[in-house]
């Protein structure tokens, strides 16, 4: 019998906790995820002021390990980095132990297949391994690419059966330091292996809200207990996908599949800073010729911030015009609870990227005045 009634939606190990805390569940990236608990605005403002707990277990944490076990230490790191660098334009080999960076996965045309965080573990026995977190919506495709491209040289270990959560906000560190002693000494993009009770965790000082905070990868069972314990703090609330989106938008951070995709290069997406000088010099990443040409001579279109001047939010797909002529499209937009105004991002022809440039947003057939704005809309609060 065909099981036509079953859906393919998966649940994270924290699903029951979301339901118990009143989460409104929606399908997202193949999972049943909470879009909100108390309300998007309340959750957004809470995260900027206190500490918000996000389930990001639907994302793609994984470890990539060098097959050649004869190498150790820096040699092993250099070897695994060299392999990983075949698909990303950032320098991975120069990462210090326990440090990570944001980069992008590229196709042969220089298009962005995903954005990801690659971390060099600090433990001696994990040199030759990279800790990588890719996006949930494209993780299967990313991992298939790794396995095909790195076959016989490096082995992929999926860790998406575990719990990955983020604790974000100015008070996150103060709450988390009683669980992970010493996490308060870490700096932005630093990662350590730490223990909570018996459970080994990868604790990284990063996030996607523009606030200080941490992401923790831990086994499912202790992960559930740890999240449950964190949620008992008066300063911690569970936060849904709705506020995650408005927080990252105010912070000027891209949402994969919207603000960048396989048709956009890192230069067009205004992410050229992920390409270090050594990689530009070597020009040895996919799509290097096109990307480096854009780097030097400019791209036809660039990602920009957009500040609507009225109250109408401009959503994805809204046309951007100057004097009635189309110059671009909004790729993400909504209302920013912290700035108390609508905010948006989009792509415009490179002649019009200067902040302050007056534009019109065509919302439901009517032109609404707006201007190009510098990103981010709120100043980030990272621990440098």
């Amino acid at each position: 019998m065909a099981d036509i009634e079953t859906t393919d939606l998966k649940r994270t190990a924290l699903y029951d906790l979301h339901v118990a805390h009143g989460g409104k569940i929606v399908p997202f990236a193949g999972y049943e995820m909470p879009v909100q608990f108390e309300g998007v605005k309340v959750e957004h403002l809470w995260t900027r002021e206190k500490a918000g707990l996000f389930d990001v277990s639907h994302m793609g944490p994984c470890f990539l390990t060098l097959d050649d076990t004869s190498l150790t230490g820096d040699e092993a790191h250099k070897a695994i980095s060299k392999i990983m660098e075949e698909l990303v334009p950032s320098s991975i080999r120069v990462l210090k132990r326990g440090k990570g960076r944001l980069t992008v996965l590229l196709n042969e045309d220089g298009g962005i297949l995903d954005d990801l965080i690659i971390t060099r573990p600090e433990l001696e026995e994990l040199q030759g391994t990279l800790y990588i977190v890719v996006n949930g919506a494209v993780k299967d495709q990313d991992w298939a690419l790794f396995e095909e491209k790195f076959a016989g040289r490096a082995t992929l270990h999926r860790h998406d059966h575990r719990v990955l959560f983020a604790l974000q906000g100015p008070q996150a560190v103060d709450v988390l330091k009683s669980y992970f002693r010493g996490c308060e000494d870490m700096t932005f993009m630093e990662s350590r292996h730490m223990f909570w009770k018996e459970a080994r965790c990868a604790v990284t000082r990063c996030g996607y809200t523009g606030e200080d905070g941490f992401e923790v990868l831990v086994d499912a069972e202790p992960g559930r207990a740890l999240v449950e314990a964190l949620l008992t703090h008066s300063r911690v609330k569970p936060i849904g996908l709705g506020a995650r989106d408005s927080l990252r938008l105010e912070a000027g951070l891209c949402l994969y599949g919207h603000d960048m995709d396989a048709n956009r290069t890192p230069v067009e997406a205004d992410l050229q800073w992920v390409i270090q000088k050594s990689r530009r010099t070597r020009a040895d990443f996919p799509g290097a010729a096109k990307i480096l040409d854009q780097y030097t001579n400019g791209a036809a279109e660039k990602r920009v911030g957009i500040q609507p001047l009225g109250r109408a939010p401009a959503r994805e797909g809204v046309e951007i015009q100057i004097d009635g002529t189309r110059i671009g499209t909004v790729t993400s937009g909504g209302f920013g609870p912290s700035v108390e105004k609508p905010v948006a991002m989009g792509y415009v022809a490179s002649a019009h990227t200067e902040p302050g440039t007056k534009i019109d947003l065509i919302i439901r057939g009517k032109a609404h005045p707006a201007e190009i704005a510098a990103l981010p809309f709120v100043q980030p609060n990272y621990k440098r």
Binding site: V35, Q36, G39, V40, K41, H44, G242, S246, R311, A312, P313, R315, G334, F335, P337, P342, R364
Partner: protein, 123 residues
């Protein structure tokens, strides 16, 4: 004055041949924090079911359909500067527009308060 409700969660309060229209508390709660409302222009005519207004929360934009046919005689301009009124008083100060009824018999197809409550309970 009688108040009727639609399955799209609009309310219609009728006095004489003028119907005041808004969205219900159920709809306002489901939308969450309303950040923008676009009310129709005075003089515009709508057939029942036409897109009449837009209400946007932090999350998304939603169309508000004309619950009955008619011509707009008044629109709630105060919502432009205070969209949160839709959350605070959806079935009072948060009204959207007043319409001159084109076809009073359309009201017969709408729910009364008790029927609407039963409808929402079943959702």
């Amino acid at each position: 004055m009688t108040t009727k409700f639609t399955e799209d969660h609009e309310w219609v309060a009728v006095e004489g041949d003028i119907a005041t229209v808004g969205i219900t508390k159920y709809a306002a709660d489901a939308l969450g924090d309303v950040v923008f409302v676009e009310v129709p222009d005075v003089g515009a005519s709508f057939a029942k079911g036409d897109d009449m207004a837009v209400v946007e929360s932090v999350k998304a934009a939603s169309d508000v359909y004309a619950p009955i046919s008619g011509e707009v005689t008044e629109a709630n301009g105060a919502l432009a500067d205070a969209p949160e009124t839709v959350n605070e008083a959806p079935e009072a100060a948060g009204w959207f527009a007043k319409l001159k009824l084109a076809n009073a018999s359309e009201l017969d197809g709408l729910m009364d308060a008790a029927a609407y409550k039963t409808f929402c309970d079943g959702l």
